[in-house]
């Protein structure tokens, strides 16, 4: 990881990108303004990790997918396995652009929009323009500005009023590139009373990737949205993830997050509970091994009345991994009758792995209920002895304990096949 360098690209490159995509003027302007911000903003100093100092020198900033097809069978074999559900709803991005998409006719018939963001800008311009970058500013910090100027591929989901989407909508990003920057943007808009589950998956090979990804979720009144995001980027990836949710009156936004991949990973999941009666629950699993560095933040920002939040995180650390975890329950003045709780449990499998857990409560209102609990521990020797006394070898007993530790959260992943995949990934980490 080296020291920051000013943009190795400029206005010309961004303009070219925008014109290649045949974008409307406002979007081109958005990119250029973000580019200017990128140039002006300081390198973020996120205290405990140096992820903010990521260097994009020598990194290719845009690469079209080698495949763009309507036939799943034409996809490269490795990718085909990600498109697992028959007649499932999926938008698959390979490198910087859309490679494949499928939306069952029944869903399209209900007015559900699910397509790449690039496409959505053309086909549903007004709808996209109304919501894009409303939950986070393009100049929120330097790497968001980079993302905003270069975002490509991505996905747009719109669910009309009172429509219930029965199957999960999957947005998958896959890359085997080496020396590439990826800037996928997922925009989810659930209109009043809508119900939808979104599943994001990020998978890559071992090559050098720099990912700056943004997910925006707008949950309008009475909507119920679940976003499950499973990140398993390869060992050459530095990933920066910003997730922003805005929850309106009586709506619910649930996050199920699996942070497993990347050499360095910084994520921030920020939910603004704006409307009265709005709710949000975040469940996060962090599994870091070898020399992975993870900086994971969860923020529940209480603004309306009678809002509630719940954050549960389970962390497993192995080898020489380092994780810093921050959970902030931020209750603003006027957010009366807030209920905000956090629980964090961590299992450290060997000396040399480190965790900094930073639970925070910022409470500016008196009529609230808030609390947090955190435990950090090693594997219980008594428990190990009990399991070994039944003939289970030590290493397997530890594996079983870790599985059991994570199981309550893994069971919240909406697709069985994805859950299975995650369990396999965890298994691999346990065995190496």
């Amino acid at each position: 990881m080296s020291v920051d360098i000013t943009a190795a690209f400029g206005e010309a490159a961004v303009t070219e990108l925008s014109q290649k995509k045949a974008e409307p003027k406002w979007l081109e302007e958005l990119r250029l303004s973000a580019l200017r911000a990128y140039g002006a903003l300081p390198v973020p100093d996120w205290r405990r990790t140096k992820v903010g100092q990521v260097d994009i020198n020598g990194i290719q900033l845009y690469k079209e997918s080698s495949v763009a097809t309507g036939d799943a069978a034409a996809l490269p074999e490795k990718v085909r396995s990600l498109v697992t559900e028959a007649d499932g709803a999926i938008v698959l991005q390979i490198d910087s652009t859309l490679a494949y998409r499928h939306l069952p006719a029944e869903l399209a018939g209900k007015g559900i929009i699910f397509t790449s963001l690039d496409q959505a800008v053309k086909e549903h311009e007004a709808l996209v323009r109304e919501h894009l970058f409303t939950s986070v500013a393009t100049d929120a910090h330097r790497l968001i500005a980079l993302h905003a100027s270069l975002h490509s591929g991505g996905a747009f989901i719109y669910v009309p009023k009172n429509v219930r989407v029965e199957i999960p909508l999957q947005f998958v990003v896959w890359s085997e590139a080496d020396g590439l920057g990826l800037f996928p943007h997922l925009l989810v808009v659930a209109d009043e009373g809508a119900e939808v589950t979104v599943l994001e998956r990020y998978v890559s090979g071992a090559g050098r990737l720099i990912v700056s990804q943004v997910t925006e979720v707008i949950a309008k009144a009475n909507a119920e949205v679940t976003v499950a995001s499973i990140q398993s980027w390869g060992e050459g990836t530095t990933s920066l993830v910003e997730r922003r949710g805005v929850v309106d009156r009586d709506a619910t936004l649930n996050w199920v997050l699996g942070e497993l991949g990347s050499a360095q990973n910084r994520t921030l999941t920020h939910t603004r509970l704006e409307g009265d009666g709005s709710q949000s629950a975040a469940s996060m699993v962090i599994f870091a091994d070898q020399t992975q560095e993870v900086d994971a933040g969860l923020v529940m920002n209480h603004v309306g009345h009678y809002t509630s939040s719940d954050m549960v995180t389970k962390t497993v650390l192995k080898d020489k991994a380092y994780a810093v975890y921050r959970a902030l329950t931020d209750i603003e003045d006027g957010a009366i009758n807030t209920s905000g709780f956090q629980v964090e449990n961590a299992l450290i499998l060997n000396k040399g792995a480190r965790l900094d857990a930073i639970p925070e409560l910022e409470i500016e209102e008196t009529e609230v209920q808030a609390g947090h609990a955190a435990t950090v521990g090693q594997v219980d020797e008594t428990l190990l002895f009990y399991m070994m006394s039944r003939g289970v070898p030590r290493a397997e007993a530890i594996r079983l304990i870790v599985e059991g530790f994570l199981d309550p959260l893994l069971s919240r992943i909406p697709l069985e096949s994805v859950r299975g995949e995650l369990e396999k990934l965890i298994d691999r980490k346990m065995n190496r």
Binding site: D380, Y386, M388, R390, V392, P393, R394, E396, A397, E403
Partner: protein, 256 residues
């Protein structure tokens, strides 16, 4: 599981944090036999149980434990289990997120070895059978191991594990503590059905009560880390009548 197996404990001395708890204990148990080890609190009953199973906190300073000539003390707890030893814990541990069924299948497969795993149907059948034997509700199999179980449920679950793993020698560490008569009868009945020429049982207990349902062939009295008296099941009744103080007096006066 084997007929005609022998567990031999010879002059065992065990210390915990420098304090000697077991001070020269010898015992021979054959498959098909039920041995009861009775003693007052602090006599070393649980120490014996944990030592046999290989708990790292217990230091064997002298003596040997062999199973059919194989040195058990040289083995890790999981190796001893695979060699045929089983311990029903007095205070079974909870395993978060791991179901009874999942754990049992893992333990069985650990014994059977890779490539020889038990089939799903065979396992399900066996589990159903054994749960019926112990009058356990089938839904138990999907509960997280010992999580939220009552004392009685935990003890019954220990015997279920014994039934599923079919050890050569089963050590029961104060299984009767915290059990009411009904639960005691069910547990004892289960063990009675399991024991036979292929299994030896060591029942470690403070009270004589369980021995009414689980009849011992031999009774040994453990006082201050040593077996001071051995006999048949009448010894248990005598102990019940006269109490541990009687035994202590007998020992002190040199009559034992």
């Amino acid at each position: 599981m084997a007929e005609g197996s022998k567990l031999v404990i010879e002059d065992l001395h065990v210390s915990v944090e420098g304090n000697e708890i077991i001070k020269g204990l010898s015992l021979e148990v054959k498959t098909g036999e039920v041995h009861a080890i009775m003693g007052p609190n602090g006599s070393g009953k649980s120490t014996l149980a944990y030592t046999l199973m290989g708990h790292p906190r217990y230091d064997v300073t002298e003596g040997s434990v062999t199973l059919d000539g194989e040195d058990l003390l040289d083995m890790e707890p999981d190796e001893r289990a695979r060699a045929g030893l089983f311990l029903a814990f007095q205070y079974p541990t909870e395993i978060e997120g791991v179901t009874v069924a999942n754990f049992l299948r893992t333990a069985i497969n650990a014994r059977r070895g890779p490539g020889n795993e038990i089939s799903v149907s065979e396992f399900a059948k066996k589990l159903r059978e054994k749960m019926e034997l112990l009058d356990m509700d089938p839904s138990f199999a999907q509960r997280y191991l010992n999580d939220g179980f009552s004392g009685g449920e935990k003890k019954r679950n220990e015997i279920l594990q014994m039934a599923m793993l079919e050890p050569t020698f089963a050590i029961m560490d104060e299984t009767d503590s915290g059990l009411d008569i009904d639960a005691l009868q069910i547990v004892s009945n289960g063990v009675n059905q399991l024991k036979g020429p292929h299994m030896g049982v060591i029942v470690i207990t403070h009270y004589q009560r369980i021995l009414r349902y689980l009849e011992p062939d031999f009774v040994h009295v453990l006082v201050d880390g040593r077996i001071v008296r051995s006999g048949g099941k009448e010894l248990a009744e005598e102990l019940e009548e006269k109490g541990y103080d009687w035994i202590r007096q007998e020992v002190e006066s040199g009559r034992m």
